[in-house]
């Protein structure tokens, strides 16, 4: 028997079109987006190739190469005219919650994409192994007492290193 889909295109289509629901239904839609983000976060490894491809297309197309970043991309994704209409109707809070939920869904997809990368897994595991070795040897890294000085020094070295 084929395994049930964790995320369906139809579901993704429904939650990404808030203009199709009335203001009173927006909270329910937000709950669905949050639930979907949790499924993506927790079950990415169990998604089918097609599901991952769909979510990847959704996230990268939603997240355009925009200078103002992910929130602006989400506004574009849901439609600016809808957003403006909701503001006029005094629905700031439920609209903001929905927008944040959509940003969270895109973040969950990006997290899954990163975890699928062998280079990412190697980098994180090596960083953790280093920390483990230091702890085991009783050699804790030095404490940073002046964050500004520490960051300035590292940044300066980064741009002057050959």
């Amino acid at each position: 028997m084929a395994q049930a889909a964790i995320i369906t295109i139809d579901e993704l289509r429904q939650v990404s079109r808030p203009s199709r629901v009335g203001p009173t239904q927006l909270e329910k839609l937000t709950e669905r987006v949050n639930a979907m983000a949790a499924r993506v976060q927790n079950q990415w490894d169990d998604l089918s190739g097609e599901e991952r491809e769909t979510l990847t297309a959704f996230a990268y197309t939603g997240f355009q190469q925009h200078r103002l970043g992910i929130m602006t991309s989400v506004y574009r994704l849901v439609g600016r005219s809808w957003y403006a209409l909701m503001m006029l109707r005094g629905q700031e809070k439920p609209t903001a919650r929905y927008i944040m939920a959509m940003a969270g869904l895109i973040e969950a997809i990006f997290d899954g994409i990163e975890r699928s990368s062998a280079e990412y897994r190697t980098a994180v595991e090596e960083a953790l192994s280093e920390a483990h070795s230091l702890f085991a040897a009783g050699r804790m890294p030095p404490e940073v007492t002046d964050a500004h000085d520490w960051v300035s020094r590292v940044s300066r070295e980064a741009v002057t290193d050959v």
Partner: protein, 139 residues
């Protein structure tokens, strides 16, 4: 403030080298982005001294299989940079927290651009048209 805990923040060598790598890759010709990253990391290190579990946009992460560190919790922070475009503008930082010794170890920082899985634009457009996911999006 009485009863507040103060944590010792001890960035690992890899945190330092990965921060240098991010700055070197994205900021050599973009001083505004360098300044933004410096400010964000400085603010983060200061915040970790007092609220390592309550940083906005940070959440606990599961350890990768076989790499759990007993006594330590793993957190990941997602930050948006306004001075870098696209995937380079998605900055991520990771740290370990030991509540018993009140120690925080930032151990890695990177941008999504380093590990992104964005398909080529033409392929992406084809997938997107194929599933007809959204009708509001336009390029």
């Amino acid at each position: 403030m009485t009863g507040s805990r103060v944590y010792r923040v001890r960035p690992s060598p890899t945190f330092e080298s990965s921060l240098k790598a991010v700055i070197k890759k994205h900021c050599k010709k973009n001083p505004a982005a360098r300044e933004e990253i410096e400010q964000i990391v400085t603010d983060l290190l200061k915040a970790l001294v007092v609220i390592p579990k309550q940083i906005e946009n940070a959440s606990p992460e599961p350890f990768p299989k076989g790499h759990a560190l007993p006594g330590w919790d793993f957190f990941k922070l997602r930050i948006y940079l306004s001075k870098l475009n696209g995937a380079a503008g998605l900055l991520r930082t990771m740290w370990l927290l030991n509540e018993e010794t009140l120690t925080v170890v930032p151990f890695y920082i990177y941008t999504h651009a380093q590990f992104q899985g964005r398909p080529p634009a033409r392929e992406l457009a084809a997938i997107f048209r194929g599933i007809r996911l959204l009708d509001e999006v336009s390029d």
